[in-house]
Symmetry: C2
Subunit: 197 residues, 2 copies
């Protein structure tokens, strides 16, 4: 189960860092190689193409988001309401980003440089992930626990705010991930619930 650090993995790590910093299209194979103190052509002993590197990173990140959300929501008591579910979802999402912001950023932004079937597949997974939050929100609204607004717009509002983290989060930032998650949970839940003033 434990993943040992192969050369391939090292390539993916520096690649995701550069992809986050400059974007996939503006990062060349030789840029990645230079960061590893190696010639560009040497990378092809470990990867089959540049897009293949992107694909692997996107896959790993998608897996991380999906599993974190699934685990987090499965751990909820059966009696959990929409607010609790949203809180769990937000916390899981923030934790995934904070644990590897470079990886997460590629899932959030750089997936669109995939082509053909891979692009189609990752788009479907992104949709399914978003649908997870949208369904929680939709159910909360029909139950009357959440303000009756538009579930799709509401879910997108929250998810795009969460994804912003993948851009600006820095491990050496002012607030630790848990504090950020606390705030974000508060914003997300209050955004969708009535205030009785």
């Amino acid at each position: 189960m434990l993943e040992l650090p192969t050369r391939r993995r090292a390539i993916e790590n520096v690649a995701s860092g550069l992809f986050r910093e400059r974007g996939y299209a503006a990062t060349s194979i030789r840029d990645i190689a230079r960061a590893l103190d190696v010639q560009g052509s040497s990378l092809y002993a470990h990867v089959t193409s540049k897009e293949d590197v992107l694909w692997t990173i996107v896959e790993r990140s998608a897996e991380a988001f999906e599993q974190a959300a699934a685990r987090s929501l499965a751990g909820l008591p059966a009696s959990a309401g929409a607010a609790e579910s949203i809180a769990a979802f937000v916390r899981a999402h923030v934790a995934v980003i904070a644990s590897d912001p470079e990886l997460a950023n590629v899932f959030v932004h750089e997936w669109r440089h995939l082509t053909g079937e891979r692009r189609r597949a990752i788009l479907a997974r992104r949709d399914a992930y978003e649908a997870r939050l949208r369904d929680i929100v939709g159910r909360g609204m029909t139950d009357g626990e959440l303000l009756p607004t538009d579930p799709a717009i509401a879910a997108t509002f929250i998810l795009t705010a969460l994804n912003g983290l993948a851009t600006w989060y820095r491990a050496d930032g002012r607030l630790p991930p848990d504090r950020i998650a606390d705030h974000y949970v508060g914003f997300a839940v209050r955004a969708l619930t009535e205030d009785h003033r």
Copy 2:
């Protein structure tokens, strides 16, 4: 005052469309030219470099956001509270994006491909724009009108959610811009205000 449609402007329009769709680095001069049914080299009669096109687009978009925010906030009564100010800011931001999502998206995402002084300058303007919202939020919190959370985190949460619009907004979408703005204003204001349940 009226801007007549020059050739240069036509180039910027198709360029911002392609930049939004594929990103600046993945869009070649020849791509832009092809969309205008022209040879790549022909563009250089109208622009001095590819980055120059990006720069002009970013500038125009920055102007649009700044002016919309300034106008919108200046139009508020002196008695306006933080909630009203946030509502005005959100509405202005949404309107700018909806009126030209391609242009807005370049300001939101593609500015980082600028280099040197231009990059520095646009970063400062982005910071100033964000500070505008952060100040409103900060004042609202010290006044007690808003929940005392972290003003920087709160402003970033809202602004990144707003900027998400620049990615997903489509003119032929399900909801008109005003309806989207209504929802977004609600989410943003409730996120920062107490609910007394």
